[in-house]
């Protein structure tokens, strides 16, 4: 169980997040949506220990994960908004480097990289230098990096942005696969695509979760419509 409790964050006098709380069960994928500036990226940065919350906690295995960041980060996969990779490396070399950096034993690195590249459908690009890849493929490499060590919590920031239709379809399949072993939290604006694999939508507005819309088993069009209305309602 991954629980976010009363997370607040502010820059000087400007409140970005106010008492944000939610729970993500293992195998669940939730989508956090909202307008630009709603605090989605900041929330994920706080959860990825890249920013320090003003108050609140993240509970994992009944312990405050933020107080033991190193242990927490070992169980975390994080993909930032823009995939920033080492362009001079090949996909395989990059993933091997990242696996080693994250502390994976040498003998298991090759298998982990193989699994991740298969999961993200980039096996044929393994020996391709990263600088030659398209934006979408780079995102897949970054995703492969995030899922490399089978994290228990996967944080994907605006993952679908900038991807064409085919890529978005592929991404949906990948996330569905990953959700089998991780709690997935995805932010973005592509509600229709997210509705295909999201179990719940959290609508973030002004730093507060204004609505929670279940998506599992519901009619996707209705879910999309309700989420869009919730965003508009929150705005008005």
């Amino acid at each position: 169980m991954f629980e976010v409790r009363n997370i607040s964050f502010s820059y000087s006098q400007r409140k970005i997040l106010r008492d944000v709380s939610f729970v993500v069960s293992p195998g669940e994928a939730i989508g956090i949506v909202g307008e630009n500036g709603a605090g989605k990226t900041t929330l994920l940065k706080v959860l990825a220990t890249l920013a320090c919350p003003e108050s609140g906690s993240v509970i994992m295995d009944a312990q405050d994960a933020l107080s033991r960041p190193l242990k927490y980060r070992r169980q975390l996969g994080y993909l930032s908004e823009t995939p920033a990779l080492y362009d001079d490396m090949t996909v395989k070399a990059y993933l091997e480097y990242r696996a080693a950096l994250k502390g994976e034993p040498d003998k298991r690195i090759r298998r982990r990289v193989q699994e991740a590249t298969e999961m993200c459908s980039i096996v044929e690009y393994a020996k391709t230098p990263i600088r030659k890849l398209s934006f979408g493929l780079k995102k897949r490499v970054a995703l492969a990096d995030a899922v490399l060590l089978r994290p228990r919590v996967l944080l994907l920031d605006d993952f679908l942005a900038g991807l064409d239709f085919g890529m978005r379809e592929a991404a949906s399949n990948i996330i569905s696969t990953v959700a089998a072993f991780a709690s997935v939290i995805v932010t973005g604006h592509e509600i229709a695509d997210m509705a295909k694999w999201t179990t719940r939508f959290l609508v973030l507005s002004g730093g507060v979760i204004s609505s929670v819309i279940p998506a599992a088993g519901a009619d996707k069009e209705q879910v999309v419509s309700r989420v869009e209305n919730a965003i508009k309602g929150a705005k008005s």
């Binding site: 890249l50 003003e54 823009t82 920033a84 994250k102």
Partner: protein, 689 residues
């Protein structure tokens, strides 16, 4: 593999593939080669070692190289956004910092090694004589110094890179911190310090590299560099960790980080200060200057001297002699400290900068280009233009340390002797000046007059008489010797029955022989390298004395006659092909005898011309040391020196054309070729990618 090792490898890979690295390397190679060429030119004929010149050429460029190599390592991660992927991984900031530091350091060390290889290769081709006696082992202390300094510069560059998102800002900050600020403080101290208190020598960063390249190490200096490097790495780690501390919630953490940095800075400064206090120096045996810095004579003088001695170097900092001199004086002060001798305080007075202090020295009788030795109210001035060397310096210390009396060295005249007052090639003014430096006054003595030998006569020198002594003169000399007198006899001719009789009476018989087949420089001289273990000649082991057609000596019938204090002993000092060419006889004190009896000592050398000005100037040999050792032994000082003149002289053997070729090869051709090859490699790698 640990995260540190992985990060180090990635950093090396990242830095290696940058065009800026190729450019930095090439500019570094070119600039270092230029500095090295200029320094080599200035050091020609001097005693500064090749390794020290090489190290000094590289040292000032390292902060700039480190700044340019290290500017991207964190800034690039921040600018591209890769920092988020790094910080979200389960790795501590200090592991990243250490890994990146090792990567940058390894790259800078590779540049240093590359320059060493290229410059030594160029020297081997264009100036092989400069490498004579220099093995790569002698560069090790210099390489250590550069590695130590570059560790600090790389750590500072890393901290700057962690602090700034833009590489240029990081590089400029690093250069400001490692070049502009230290040198600015230095120049400010030079400009604003009180004129009478000004005592700084070289810029310490340059002096450290030079000293260590010469094998002179100081724990305080080494620890200071290490402590400051660790502090800079701590700073870099904290700057990286601070990237997580955005937002109001981290206000207290930001404060605690700032407090930790302040405490660490205070701790680092305290430790540096403590390291300075607990400083002790040591000399590596394979230093750039053959390790052995001081002769036994200097060491014994230093060990026996107590109290405080102030040495003021009165010369311009722009003078080419300044650096080796300041190194020498620092080494001297440390040597004295190690031997438990006098505390030597060294200060520098630049006649152009320190007008007040210069005026004080001029009033005290010193002129520009002098060293002033002061102890209490006693003062000795050594002119640097008169062939300054270690012996002159130790003699000056001896003069200010000994009780204030100047005994006389009396030179006989009137028999065609070589004059100690003659400055030409046939005179002995140079050796007389050295005797004066040792604290004696040179005096002429007329044995034919009614005047007695002065009471404070330390010894009599008979320097190559062409005419014989009269009976009265011989009698007066004999009477002097019988009272425990000392005689240095330089033989010129055997056609002098009076002199032969004196010698014979005191145990020495002279004869003439030829030395066919012996080593020679001009055909008529012989090279003497076989020295006995007598205190006069033992320090000259491995040296060469050149004598012109020397006479040989053997014990006369007087040797071994009598008993107790009247017994005369004969000992050879130097030999050629088994024949003794310099000998000493002594009628002295035996165990159980009356210690108040001053032993008579006579040294005879089979050549009178060996210590003449012309001979001393011609050959880099041990003639001067041999002569002065004789004087010291006869006068009773017993502080012997070893010949070192000329041993460490740097001779590149390059003429003007060869120098130009060297400059072009090392500062244009080699960096140019490197630039083209490295650029092609990087471009090819990128294109393939």
């Amino acid at each position: 593999m640990s995260a540190t090792t992985i990060t180090m490898k990635r950093t090396v890979g990242m830095v290696r593939s940058l065009y800026s690295t190729v450019l930095s390397f090439s500019v570094f190679l070119s600039a270092a080669a230029l500095l090295f060429s200029f320094a080599l030119d200035a050091g020609e004929g001097g005693e500064t070692s090749l390794a020290a010149i090489w190290t000094s050429a590289v040292s000032p460029l390292l902060p700039i190289l480190a700044a340019f190599i290290g500017m991207d390592v964190w800034s690039e991660e921040r600018r591209t956004g890769r920092i988020e992927a790094l910080l979200s991984a389960p790795v501590r900031e200090r592991e990243y910092t250490l890994g990146k530091f090792l990567g940058v350091w390894a790259t800078v060390l590779a540049a240093i090694i590359l320059f060493l290889v290229s410059s030594v290769a160029a020297l081997a081709i264009l100036a092989p004589s400069a490498l004579t006696g220099s093995t790569l082992v002698k560069f090790i202390p210099g390489l250590f110094a550069l590695a130590l300094q570059s560790a600090l510069w790389c750590a500072v560059a890393l901290a700057a890179s962690a602090a700034f998102k833009h590489s240029a800002a990081a590089a400029l900050t690093a250069i400001a911190a490692t070049v502009a600020v230290p040198r600015g403080i230095w120049f400010a101290l030079m400009a604003w310090s009180g004129q009478d208190k000004f005592s700084y020598g070289e810029m310490p960063l340059d002096a450290h590299a030079f000293d260590m390249a010469n094998g002179l190490f100081s724990t305080g200096v080494i620890l200071s560099y290490a402590i400051l490097a660790v502090f800079a790495l701590f700073l870099a780690s904290k700057f990286t960790a601070a990237l997580r501390l955005g937002g109001r919630g981290a206000k207290s953490l930001r404060w605690s980080t700032a407090t930790a940095i302040a405490i660490a800075a205070a701790l680092a400064l305290s430790l540096v200060s403590l390291a300075g206090r607990l400083d002790f120096s040591f000399v590596l045996p394979f230093g750039g200057k053959d390790g052995q810095t001081f002769t036994q004579r200097t060491q014994s003088i230093l060990a026996e001297t107590r109290g405080e001695i102030d040495i003021t170097a009165f010369l311009s900092r722009k003078d080419v002699r300044f650096r080796p001199l300041s190194h020498f004086l620092r080494a001297l002060a440390k040597e004295s400290e190690m031997l438990g001798g006098a505390r030597i305080a060294v200060s520098y007075v630049d006649p152009h900068w320190d007008v007040g202090a210069a005026e004080r020295l001029v009033r005290a009788g010193a002129s520009e280009d002098t060293l002033v030795f002061e102890r209490g109210r006693r003062r000795a001035i050594v002119n640097l233009s008169d062939g300054f060397d270690e012996r002159a310096c130790s003699s000056a210390i001896l003069r200010v340390a000994l009780p204030p009396q100047r005994r006389a060295v009396c030179w006989t005249h009137g028999h065609g002797e070589i004059s100690f007052e003659a400055y030409g090639a046939w005179g002995m003014s140079d050796i007389a000046r050295d005797i004066a430096r040792d604290g004696y006054r040179n005096e002429r003595i007329d044995l034919a007059s009614q005047e007695p030998v002065p009471d404070d006569c330390a010894l009599i020198i008979v320097a190559g008489p062409k005419n014989d002594f009269s009976r009265a003169e011989a009698g007066k000399l004999d009477a002097y010797l019988r009272k425990g007198g000392r005689l240095l006899l330089l033989l010129h001719s055997l056609d002098a029955p009076g002199i032969a009789s004196i010698m014979s009476g005191w145990g020495i018989r002279a004869s003439q022989t030829a030395f066919p087949g012996e080593r020679t420089l001009s055909g008529s001289d012989v090279i003497v390298s076989d020295f006995s273990s007598h205190p006069v000649s033992a320090p000259l082991e491995n040296s060469q004395v050149v004598l012109e057609k020397p006479f040989v000596f053997s014990p006369s019938a007087a040797v071994g006659q009598g008993g107790g204090a009247d017994r005369i002993d004969f000992a050879p000092l130097a030999s050629v092909a088994g024949s003794c060419v310099a000998a000493v006889t002594e009628r002295g004190v035996r165990a159980g005898d009356d210690l108040a009896i001053r032993p008579t000592r006579i040294i005879a050398v089979g050549d009178a011309a060996f210590a003449m000005n012309g001979r001393l100037a011609e050959n880099a040999n041990a003639n001067k040391d041999f002569f002065l050792n004789c004087v010291a032994f006869l006068a009773g000082t017993d502080a012997m020196g070893a010949a070192s003149a000329g041993k460490n002289k740097l001779v590149s053997g390059m003429d003007r054309h060869a120098r130009l070729e060297f400059v072009v090869a090392t500062s244009i051709a080699i960096p140019g070729v490197f630039f083209l090859v490295a650029l092609s490699c990087v471009a090819f790698k990128r294109r393939r990618a």
